[in-house]
Symmetry: C2
Subunit: 480 residues, 2 copies
Amino acid sequence: MSSSDKKHRANLQSHLFALTLDRQARPALHLQLAQALRGLILSGTATPGARLPASRTLAAELSISRMTVQTAFDQLLAEGYLTARRGAGTFVASDLPDLSGPAATPDPGPKLPAPPPFQPFRPGVPDMAAFPHRLWSRLLERAWARPDPALLGEGDPLGWPPLRAAIAAHLQAWRGIACHPRQVVVTSGAVEAFELVLDSCVPPAAGVLIEDPGYDPLRRVLTRTGRRPVPCRIDGDGLDISTAPDGLAAAIVTPSRHYPTGATLPLARRLALLDWANRTGAPVIEDDYDGEFRYRGQPLPALASLDRTGQVFYLGSFSKLLSPGLRLGYLVVPGRHLPALAAQMAARGSSASLTPQPALAAFMQDGAFASHLRRMRRLYGRRQQHLLAILRRAPDLLQVSEDPGGMHLTCPLGPALVGRVQDTEIAQAGTDHGLHLRALSAYSVLPDPPQGLVLGFAAYDEAALTAAATRLLTILHALR
Amino acid sequence: MSSSDKKHRANLQSHLFALTLDRQARPALHLQLAQALRGLILSGTATPGARLPASRTLAAELSISRMTVQTAFDQLLAEGYLTARRGAGTFVASDLPDLSGPAATPDPGPKLPAPPPFQPFRPGVPDMAAFPHRLWSRLLERAWARPDPALLGEGDPLGWPPLRAAIAAHLQAWRGIACHPRQVVVTSGAVEAFELVLDSCVPPAAGVLIEDPGYDPLRRVLTRTGRRPVPCRIDGDGLDISTAPDGLAAAIVTPSRHYPTGATLPLARRLALLDWANRTGAPVIEDDYDGEFRYRGQPLPALASLDRTGQVFYLGSFSKLLSPGLRLGYLVVPGRHLPALAAQMAARGSSASLTPQPALAAFMQDGAFASHLRRMRRLYGRRQQHLLAILRRAPDLLQVSEDPGGMHLTCPLGPALVGRVQDTEIAQAGTDHGLHLRALSAYSVLPDPPQGLVLGFAAYDEAALTAAATRLLTILHALR
């Protein structure tokens, strides 16, 4: 028997064994079975020549008498749908017309290219080898072995309440944000959070300020939802709101560390931004994607912590702090915008899985989350210093400056490369040599973007960073 | 010490203990600490009068000398930020100006109304008391204690490959759909699936056919993404595509069981629908939300199983089969549409959490999923019969007909109620009496919608159904 025959037979069996016959209903059981089997043949599910299970087996599986099965088979033998071969069993007739249409198996489409391999310096990825998998798996097991009944229904679309409370406590301690747990909305990530804010307080077709360079998926969310992205070139201190055009309906910013350059928005610009929001009524969305990872100096309090009048939506994510596969993030909603946003969420339904939420709440409540962040902060801080030390050897190739935080370094091209090679060409050369390099210019849509490389370091140990950075300098040296 | 003081102090402590001082960097450690503490006071995080931790404790937490801490404190005592009370400790000065702006605590917004209580006859909810929680929690624990490295990165945005393979096998056995695992895309639910299909092959502003009555979130997805919903009134057999206007860019249908009336689309109409898709090039989205729950007769193969030319996107969900909190669904994509859809998914990023995916794959692979479905099918089938038997006692109040499957019954109003009371008034009366009733007319946007009640039964045992149905008949009797 060929493997394809085996597969057809297993498929036919699972169909037959899954049948539900109704003892109370008409028609009689053997007629119900015959009709079902006829349907399987006509639909092409039971392929010509396929062998049926023995009547004894089928009878046992369906909890009906063997006589009932045999009567159904006899009917279909008489109709010509089945044939019997003595000693071999009962088969779907092989001389049936081809009922399966032009293509017996529908076109499965092309094999898609595999996702790019995981290589340095892919940015924004935490070191999962340092993740406390055992503890996490135990917390998952504990949360779901005898789950809280409130976890079993559709639940609050704004998220599992103990998780929202744990996030509020975390934000108070780490980011200086005083918020009520009910202002915390659990999302499946930044994209859903952006959509919720846009749909609850930014009119269709409105212009929304985004930073340039900036986070590309954001520009796509705006376009996809019918808003107009208005890119605004940042300088070494981040966004200067006084350079923004009039008539904007919202601004999306990364004040803690501009993405991807790492610039920290100074206090004066923060206050100007809040003043702008107050004057124009346009909300500010603060994307604080890795504000917890600050290695030197005092972490600046979040923009949201300076907001006294409810202008700032604050966005955080667990993808970079814990694991990208969690697909969990959150949004802190100014009180006055909460009813509209909650209505939006109720209407669309949450897309954040409840499965990780009680485990994450426990992880945060018992302090494991804070210790993990502190441990990762030390680890990533050492790795950043390590990478900096290597790159500093070639100041003509890359401009390297101390960055107080983050999970990547953004390095403008050095004098030996500027004007000679595009950063996108360097990124391509990296791919050819087993490095994941991102060109800084690829984060821009405005003309004459800054040229440089965005180098993630958090997920790679010192040995991997040494090897990768050495290879990078060799590549850059050759392109000079 | 009041509880608010305690909270402020704990907050200040957690800030101070989370500080990272840089031994290598300038300025000196005591200056870094003084600067950080000054920042906490200026930002309002350290409130006037709050007591600081003892210098010995802080020194131990930060792994610095006690002298360093005392030098920093002395500096701030001199600057007036701190005051010391002999024998009591060091405090944030209480005569600082109010730096916290007009509102010390930002407005947390109104308390939102609680989600409606879980009561019969809320539809579409599985019986979670019958869910194998122990097995599920062990599968979660096993998948994540020593996770497959492929689960730790960003992963394939189309879903965990073993889960996609398990879904393809399930669809072959239960729904007669032959598809390749690569055509299966894991989503966070029907809403994300609709969006992906729309964004990959339906132009903005295009008209999309939806059934009326129908699934309301769907209409909202269309409006939100800038498409035009074109509602089409169904009859007792579901959608008749020959009644649809010209120029539609897609059609979204529920052929297995029309939602919410339960009508099964006959074969002739299915073929006509496929023919329409072939002629017009408009894709058909088949929403097979509970096709596995068929209690009597042969389950009709899915529309997608008849599709030979790649017109039909097939949508399934685990919310009703397993648990709504999983937030997992899937989409089977015709091969020719796969590259565009995969590009869409890559651009927006997946919102389906990886946390439940390996556990669900194991649950499906070892047959536990199929046994669970079979067990639920028997359980829900009995409950449906039980509810039917009670409702049949009052044919003047509700028209009840045998329904071969599903998790709810849709009952048109009987002759004693038609014209006397609106179904929406009945639903309101239900709420007042502790019943969750849905008015059939609320599923329509077209004028003169059918009047009736949508009664979920799957999640309620026989005793609960008896009590609720009796109460319902009493309410209806009073409204007659």
